[in-house]
Amino acid sequence: MRFAPFDLSALKEEYEENSPAMQELKTVITDVLAEKTWRFKSERIKSKYPISIAEGRIANDGFIQSGFDCGLSDAPINFYALWQQTPVTYALDGTLSDLMEYVQKIRLLFEVDGAIRNGATLERFRQFLFLAVYKQGNFDPVEQLNDLKTDDPSYSLLNVCFLENVDLWDYSFVKFWETVTKFAGNIGHPHHSSFDSRWLAIFSALEKVLDSQIDFALARKIFEINLGDSPIGKIAEAGLFYLSRKGEINNDDLIGYLQDQRTVNVGIIILNSHLSYTLSFTTQIWETMKNVELKKPQRALSYQLGVNLLENTESLSEQLKAELYEYLLLEGVEGDFEQTRAVFYALRKNLKQKGIGEALIKRLIAVDPYPIEFNSLISDYYFHIDDLDGFFAFIRTYLGDENHFFKLTQFKGICELFTVKYPVRFWRGMVELLIDDEGRYRKAGGRMLSHMLHEQSEHIFPVPLEELNPLQQYKFIVSATVYPMFMDENLKVLVPFLFSKSPIVVELALCKLDHIAISYGPEAINKLQPMISNHPLSTEIVERLNSVFTEDAKRIDQKQRIFEFNPHVGYANLIRPFAEFYAKKSSRSMSEAQRKHGGISSFIKQTTIGRGGGVITHDMKIMPLSMVGASFSLPSYIFIDPIGDQAEMFLFYKKNWSEDFKAWKEIISSSGNI
């Protein structure tokens, strides 16, 4: 929860000396502080004092929420609201030592409750504390801080108060640096997870203090001495960056920075902030950089610098340009996706240049192990250069290589973009893949289709499939249905083929529809009916599918009665770890919410098999075993076919389609099927 910006004037007005609110509050606070066991007697406090003292008024400005935010639902909210405001009283009326004693007491109390760790509550408390500090006038927070241990939560609170209002006191830079570095050393690295508002306060205070300094040389010296990969080093980096903005660090200084391992990081950061570079300076930077050994985080910065130099150097020579491209393409593209993406996007406007794009693609493909996310960059590339034919050519080129086969069949992004831009051309390309003579192209087409249809069902096949000859239609069905699709998409793919002039194609489409009927039951058949209403054999088709579904339901029912064959019974100790592994994979493609609520893992975690084989769900209801596993969010039919991998093999290796076609013909003519 975020609070509105702190309105000091309103608060001051509210707590005017001798105002009724303040008088009431003082009474309450006196009593509260006198209590040694606040929490447990809080009910009494609540009953003793009218709600209006704290709760009513406080409720108006939203403070009331913070009591709940603490998670202390068993405590009266007015009590928790009170503690936030007491520093104000001390600011107006108490002594400094009283204030510190109060801070300590609050800390003890809330350490017990755990509320001190609640961000929102702390934030509010900090605001009040600041008001108190501010009202003390001659109070010097730094002195107080020096007396406190760094692991004391009130130390952190006071420190941020100090940093936020550092401009209210007159500190020497050295004194400030001592305080801030002590504090920074205690809160962890700003690049790590501990980064929080305390770091914002430090950086903001640093700028405020530097703004008021005249002796930049001293500050720079302190910064340069303290550079390094530590929290203090990061403050020093920020300081030097500030000084460079003030014009205190010149180009020669920066080249010097690049030559030293300790200063190279800040040197690159500062250089990256430049809007333009002269040719001579770029040459100087590049020649220096060639000789510097960079660590991994520094390399990421240097690639950015390389891009900046490419883009923002005046009259860049061809040779230097070529060197920079080579550097980025050869070294900037690595197994780290984030870094590579940064380089990729940095180079984006150059991708249309002859050779750059192709070199980038080549480099991406060569990364080993290949991060599957690179597919999105490749997609982006072809879309960016608007080259659909190039994309298909790329697919065909690289699918020839076994090592690239698996990773290159999962393009989705590009399909979405191209289907919108060039629907007909794109789908023609897809159809060509699906009916190709080469198994690997068919397989690639099948996989791409399966991936994209989940997202793009409305763009399905704007190309007339009836133009294909029967053999091509046959190949198309086989290729398009090996990989999983949802019910609607499956129907959309298959229904056109029910109208084919070839009885073989019709029969194959019907066989595939049998699978769908088995998987989805009457729902699928009902959906299909209007889609084939103009088919001369629509009644027979529906009858056939109903019969297939009924027969299969009987078979499944018979099987379900054998608990020994139920994996949740027979392999209960294996299915749980499997589900966890599978959930890992699923989480890559499914949203977190889907995984939590629809995934097999959550089902398994929440259920136990009851006596007699039923399933007891988390709400203690008994669910028949036949339901086990059915909650999985992918269509079930893909698991019904236990020889799915054989189908895949068929798709991959099948060469002699004509013979296959003939065999079907014989079967159909002998069975007299529709």
């Binding site: 064959f565 019974v569 294996l574 994979k585 006596r611």
Partner: protein
């Protein structure tokens, strides 16, 4: 012990007559030293004339008698006014027992023995029926020609506690706790029966007092815990725990007999066989329940298993095959495990069994999809089952070769599409991770393979040179291996076989280089060590127990089991290739 009788009573009260109470009773009678002449199982389908069980032995009064035992349970467990007079009720049964005597001319000892009719029911005599009941008993047995005794739930509880549970179960708090825990957790599919197995281990490692009677009691206890386990598993409609527990008991009990050097003692084998009967009956129940579905197209595939089935289907199929083969081996051993089936009967049985196995395998691609290297066990067992059968037809030989080639193709296919071969070190978690995430875990090991080596050796038996040449080129980089039992320590190996996995007692021939020529490969195999251990288990006529060890403890099958066929391949292999189709491997 009194308080512990409750567990016995509660258990007995739940039993139904058919297949439950009357399966348990013979164990009690045997433990009293009585000889069973006929059990309900043997009398099934025939009119029993009030004699579910017939036995003879010495009664408590020291007199040797013939006992006609009539059993009523379930809805008839209490004696009520209705149960007395209804058709096939108590009155009619007892009347038949008194009127029609049991004759078995094969047992002359029965002829002149005094007869006692015992009515067994796991309920009570209701007060409302007491008067009528006494009248019937007086009318039927008042003349003193036949004696009568009634064992109600109270007597049964005392008898079972005293004769069966008492010594090994009820008097030992730890044993009882383990057993109670087992029964309490048996409805949890994830339960690994650890308490039950601990109980069996403790029973078999405790001090056994000398004497046949003690041995008898120990094995009766084993039988009983198996029966109770089975019964509880049946109640939760999941026999897998029972299959697991009973197999463990059988293996451990046999290991114990070997260790105690009792394997040549006929009475010992006799009582051990009662345990085998329980296992065979259990397997029969399981197979009868599951086979109609298992032999359907993809019957072993669980549609609702979702993506897990990529692992679950092959695992289930391989496990199922293992149980099926073992059950069929038990069947072939005959009702008393004496292999007394005549040649023609055996031929017919094997013909039927092979048909079923083929149907299960052909309809379930999971049976041809080994995911773990240890899946070589069911595959080898199937192959040996066919090759060891009385007659291998041309059709079966062709099928067998196709089966092995299909397995090879499946391995190649999965390697081609998923990048993995069967996991070598039985690391099932790594397998789950690989299939679940689609990425190879660092601890997934498929560099070595015993399975592929076995498949190649089968090609030699099939005299299939073209397939060998194709397969050979795919074996680059795979560490082909064969495991041999340590034949210098035959006793340790054999006992170990029934006590757990004996990988430490095996010698591994690794990095086997495949010769370029098929003929050289054959020669190389013939030159490999061949020191078959002479198993005492086989000598006792229980060779099938080794199959149980292979499928249960995943012990390696010694290569001599199949290599003996290299020199002398079954008919249709090796010589007459014309009957073998020339299909070629499709995936490399």
């Amino acid at each position: 012990m009194e308080r512990n009788n409750i567990i016995v009573r509660e258990y007995l009260e739940t039993l139904k007559e058919d297949g439950e109470l009357d399966r348990l009773l013979p164990l009690l009678l045997i433990s009293r030293g009585w000889k069973i002449v006929r059990t309900p199982r043997e009398a099934k389908g025939q009119k029993q004339f009030g004699k579910d069980i017939v036995a003879y032995g010495v009664d408590l009064d020291g007199v040797k008698k013939a006992f006609y035992i009539e059993v009523k349970g379930h809805s008839d467990k209490d004696i009520t006014e209705q149960s007395l007079i209804k058709p096939d009720g108590l009155y009619q049964s007892l009347l038949s027992a008194t009127v029609v005597d049991f004759k078995d001319y094969g047992i002359p000892a029965l002829e002149n023995l005094p007869i006692k009719v015992i009515f067994v029911h796991n309920g009570a005599l209701k007060p409302s029926a007491e008067h009528e009941y006494n009248g019937i008993i007086t009318k039927l047995f008042g003349d003193g020609k036949k004696q009568f005794e009634r064992w109600s739930i109270h007597e049964l509880t005392d008898l079972f506690s005293a004769y069966l549970f008492g010594e090994y179960l009820l008097t030992d708090d730890q044993h009882l706790q383990l057993f109670k825990k087992t029964l309490a957790l048996i409805d949890q599919p994830e339960y690994d029966l650890r308490d039950y197995k601990m109980l069996i281990d403790k029973l078999l490692t405790g001090d056994l007092k000398p004497g046949q009677r003690q041995f008898y009691k120990l094995f009766s206890t084993l039988n009983l815990v198996c029966v109770i386990l089975w019964d509880n598993a049946r109640q939760v409609n999941n026999l897998l725990h029972a299959l697991d527990g009973v197999a463990y008991t059988v293996l451990k009990a046999w290991g114990w007999i070997l260790r105690q050097q009792l394997v040549r003692k006929k009475p010992v084998i006799g009582i051990f066989k009662s345990l085998l009967i329980i296992q065979r009956d259990l397997l029969e129940t399981y197979i009868t329940k599951t086979l109609p579905v298992a032999r359907q197209k993809d019957g072993l595939f669980a549609e609702r298993g979702g993506p897990f089935e990529e692992v679950g289907y092959p695992l289930r199929s391989m496990d199922y095959l293992g149980w099926l083969i073992y059950y069929y081996q038990l069947q072939q051993a005959g009702p008393d495990f004496n292999y007394e089936l005549e040649a023609q009967q055996m031929y017919g049985l094997q013909h039927f069994q092979k048909g079923v196995i083929r149907a299960v395998i052909d309809n379930n691609i999971g049976c041809k999809t080994p995911l773990l290297d240890r899946h070589s066990r069911p595959i080898v067992l199937v192959t040996l089952f066919f090759m060891n059968s009385k007659e291998l037809t041309a059709h079966e030989a062709n099928w067998l070769r196709g089966y092995i080639i299909d397995i090879y193709n499946r391995i190649g296919l999965i390697h081609s599409f998923r990048g993995r071969r069967p996991e070598f070190s039985d690391n099932i978690t790594a397998l789950l991770e690989y299939v679940g995430t689609g990425e190879r875990p660092s601890d997934y090991n498929d560099k070595g393979s015993m399975l592929l080596q076995v498949l190649l050796e089968f090609l030699v038996i099939f005299n299939d040179e073209p397939s060998y040449n194709t397969c050979r080129s795919d074996m680059q980089g795979i560490d082909l291996q064969t495991a041999y039992p340590n034949w210098t320590m035959p006793d340790e190996v054999e006992i170990g076989l029934f006590e757990g996995n004996i990988s430490e007692l095996t010698a591994v021939d690794s990095s086997i280089a495949l010769p370029e020529q098929f003929f050289d490969f054959k020669k190389m195999l013939e030159a490999k060590p061949n020191n078959p251990i002479s198993y005492k288990t086989d000598g006792a006529g229980l060779a099938f127990l080794r199959s149980l060890s292979y499928i249960y403890f995943h012990n390696d099958i010694p290569p001599d089991e199949w290599r003996k066929f290299i020199a002398a391949p079954p008919h249709y292999f090796g010589v007459d290739k014309s009957v073998i189709s020339n299909e070629h491997l499709t995936v490399t």
